[in-house]
């Protein structure tokens, strides 16, 4: 069953990811990205990260991507125009990417020690309780630092988005 689920959602996420890159309209890309995130959430569930799966949907799907969609709608961003600049990226990008995928594939398949098979339910570490416990004990300092980071981000966003920047 988990194999079926993995195959389905892996394919969905790949299709959506291709869509993100290939669609010309930002909003299509955004929606495709939501699809990637949703299918990734299912994969997280398969890997025993139930809390993160839900957080993924809430934070990415519900907050970050809504912000994206909101901005796209607000700016009424249309389809992209083609541009002759950045020829270097256009030429070198694809070979580099293919090299990257090949390298990673080789590393994962060839170099890395054998990895276990994924069975749903064999690792149920990622409950809210355990994550919370770790977050508020061992990772308390990073957690607090991240809170401050968010505060700064909020202030920064507010300052940036003001009508007049004095």
């Amino acid at each position: 069953m988990d194999t079926v689920l993995f195959v389905i959602f892996a394919i969905v996420s790949l299709i959506c990811a291709f869509n993100v890159v290939l669609q010309t309209h930002p909003i299509s890309s955004a929606l495709s990205l939501v699809g990637v995130m949703g299918s990734l959430a299912v994969l997280y569930l398969l890997l025993g990260a139930e809390f993160l799966a839900m957080t993924q949907v809430i934070v990415y799907g519900g907050a970050v991507m809504v912000l994206f969609v909101f901005t796209i709608m607000l700016l009424n961003a249309g389809s992209e125009k083609s541009s002759s600049k950045s020829w270097f990226a256009q030429i070198a990008g694809l070979p580099l990417l293919l090299a990257f995928v090949a390298l990673m594939g080789f590393l994962i398949k060839g170099v890395m020690p054998a990895l276990p098979a994924v069975r749903f339910g064999s690792f149920i570490g990622g409950t809210a309780e355990q994550i919370g416990r770790l977050l508020f004990t061992e990772y308390l300092l990073p957690f607090e630092v991240i809170s401050i980071l968010i505060l700064i981000a909020i202030l920064g966003a507010v300052v940036l988005a003001r009508k007049e920047i004095d």
Binding site: K85, S86, F88, A89, A92, G93, L96, L97, A99, F100, L103, M104, L107, V111
Partner: protein, 617 residues
């Protein structure tokens, strides 16, 4: 027992007057300024009465200041009998001079500024005195130097004042450079700066008869002392420092700051005791300074300059005492000198005040009727400095000269001769001021009570201060000499002093024409002395000028403009430009190109880490 409160009160006064002084009325400024010092004085009294008899030092650790490797420096304050003596002098005389200054500065611009500097000086001086390690002492040391600079240049609109301030500061820098090197050497040698720890470390070391590390340390520290306490060769700043207001001269350049060098040497006596060479150097420099300054003082016409040279001379005496190992005698002279020299300056200030700013002796005369209190008090001070029997200077000077007599008779004879010279030129100034006929134009008047009251108090102290036996007080720190009391040097030095007074009386009261004859006879010698042996000119020609030339043509034109600007800065710029010209081809402004480069770079990293690193592992 909170020792930090002692310097804290003046600091508070400084902050209040410095920050809000412009908005406060003059009485309020005086209240804060004098009140803070008074509080400090009262607190010192209470503290010392509680700590009595204080045979062992009382140390207080306020906070750890520097903690770096082996070096641990705390902001530590300590009180022992030496400190107690200095605390009494500084706060007591300081209080009197503060009171005096409220009258003296009444009509001056920058009243609050003056008192804020004055309080700041008190703060740093107290830190210096209370310091328990060399670094804290150095803080106070530099702090009083700063205040001295600020106060000498108090009339900063006058060129001579700012020049004098610069001179004082720069000359002191030379000494402080040595002092700082000495501190570094101490750190290297003892790995601590705390006096107590250094003392215990030193006690196990042998006395150096040849040049060694202790000699180096002590001589470098003494270099600092020659700067601060105006000894040969760095004494030149002190006479010029008289450009500041007279209370400044009295407090900083007579009673307290200039004795900091003496205090420092006494404080680090345990080091000097281990170096015979350094001791001899201190003694000889002290002696020669005393003589040199005294001879210059004979020919000066500015009343404050006369007293300034006498200060240099008396400081020389103190160092003579220290160098002979008679630390308590030196400190004794510090105390009595603080009384009578402060009094001399304050009296001179009173005269100057009464004459509306006139400082030239040639325009004074016959003031004893119009300024009776000043006349009497200044007379007592002059007698005291001349070593007139049973006044304070008699005892302290005798203590030093006795030590010299035991140690090396030639030093004693020169010292005694100098005592006579001192008596002569001080009384020359005194007679020129108060006897004869008035030669000025301004209408003289007596000073207000706020000025005369400190004069009277200081006069009493100058008179009886000698009965307060400092050597016995400091006995726990510096053992008394056990030899039999020898009365000969006392009689000789006292008679030299009285002889000096008599000669002065003959020259300037009984037969003024004689002085003129002698001056004409002396001719070249007089000119030489009048021009202070041309020391300033010699310094200018042999040190300042070459330095200037070297700086201008060597360092500025060649090194700075040619090498640094031309080769390093411009050349670096050209190099960066040419390399940048190549690299700017990469700077296309296109984020996607940058990302491609990042991508390529990360690929290489992954390749290396993943394949090479993996296979090696």
């Amino acid at each position: 027992m909170t020792l930090w409160l002692i310097p804290f009160f003046p600091l508070l006064g400084f902050l209040i007057n410095g920050l809000f002084g412009k908005r406060l009325s003059k009485p309020a400024v005086s209240l804060f300024a004098v009140g803070s010092v008074a509080l400090s004085f009262i607190y010192v009294l209470i503290l010392l009465s509680k700590l009595y008899p204080l045979t062992t030092p009382y140390t207080e650790h306020d906070f750890t200041w520097i903690h770096s490797g082996f070096l641990q420096v705390g902001f530590d304050l300590t009180v022992d009998r030496l400190t107690a003596l200095m605390l009494m002098i500084v706060t007591g005389v300081g209080l009197l001079i503060h009171t005096y200054a409220t009258g003296y500065m009444q009509h001056e611009e920058g009243y609050a500024r003056f008192f804020s500097y004055f309080n700041l000086f008190m703060f740093f001086m107290l830190v210096l005195v209370l310091a328990s390690n060399l670094l804290v002492l150095f803080v106070g040391w530099e702090g009083v130097g700063l205040c001295s600079y600020l106060l000498v240049g108090f009339y900063y609109k006058e060129k001579f004042a700012s020049d004098a301030a610069n001179k004082a500061f720069i000359v002191n820098r030379i000494g402080d450079f040595g002092f700082l090197l000495g501190i570094f050497l101490v750190v290297m040698t003892f790995r601590t700066l705390d006096f107590g720890q250094i003392a215990s470390a030193v006690s196990s070391m042998p006395v150096e008869t040849n040049a060694g590390i202790l000699t180096a340390i002590t001589l470098l520290l003494f270099a600092g002392a020659t700067g601060k306490s105006a000894q040969i060769p760095l004494y030149v700043w002190l006479p010029d420092a008289m450009a500041g207001p007279t209370p400044v001269s009295a407090l900083i350049h007579a009673a307290t700051m200039v004795t900091a060098g003496v205090y420092m040497v006494a404080r680090t006596a345990f080091l000097y005791n281990h170096s015979t060479i350094a001791m001899s150097v201190v003694a000889v420099i002290g002696l020669f300074t005393a003589v040199l300054a005294a001879t210059i003082g004979v020919a000066q016409n500015d009343i404050k300059r006369v007293f300034a040279y006498s200060t240099v001379s008396q400081l020389g005496y103190m160092f003579l005492g220290l160098g002979l190992g008679a630390y308590s005698a030196g400190m004794f002279h510090v105390m009595t000198h603080a009384f009578f020299k402060a009094l001399l300056f304050l009296g001179a200030g009173s005269v100057i005040h009464g004459l509306g700013g006139e400082q030239d002796l040639r325009h004074m005369g016959g003031l004893r009727k119009s300024m009776p209190i000043t006349f009497v008090t200044l007379g007592i001070a002059s007698l005291a400095i001349s070593g007139f029997p049973f006044l304070s200077g008699f005892y302290s000077k005798d203590a030093i000269l006795s030590a010299a007599y035991e140690h090396a008779p030639w030093m004693f004879w020169i010292g005694a001769l100098t005592a006579g010279l001192t008596a002569f030129y001080v009384f020359r100034a005194f007679f020129l001021t108060f006897f004869g006929t008035y030669r000025g134009h301004h209408h003289p008047h007596e000073s207000p009570l706020s000025m005369t009251f400190p004069l009277i108090v200081l006069a009493i102290l100058s008179a009886i201060g000698g009965f307060f036996s400092v050597p016995h007080l400091l006995a726990p720190l510096f053992p008394l000499s056990t030899g039999p009391e020898n009365i000969t040097p006392m009689i000789i030095s006292a008679s030299f002093g009285i002889l000096g007074i008599l000669i002065a009386y003959v020259f300037y009261v009984a037969n003024p024409a004689l002085a003129e004859t002698v001056r004409v006879r002396a001719g070249g010698l007089y000119t030489l002395v009048l021009n202070k042996y041309y020391v300033d000119e010699i310094y200018a020609a042999f040190i300042v000028r070459p330095l200037e030339v070297l700086s201008r043509y060597g360092l500025w034109k060649a090194v700075d403009v040619g090498l640094i600007d031309g080769a390093v800065v411009d050349g670096g710029g050209r190099l960066v430009r040419s390399v940048g010209g190549l690299l700017r081809q990469l700077q296309s402004g296109s984020i996607r190109n940058y990302a491609t480069w990042v991508m390529a770079g990360s690929l290489i990293v992954i390749f290396v880490l993943g394949l090479v690193g993996g296979s090696v592992r």
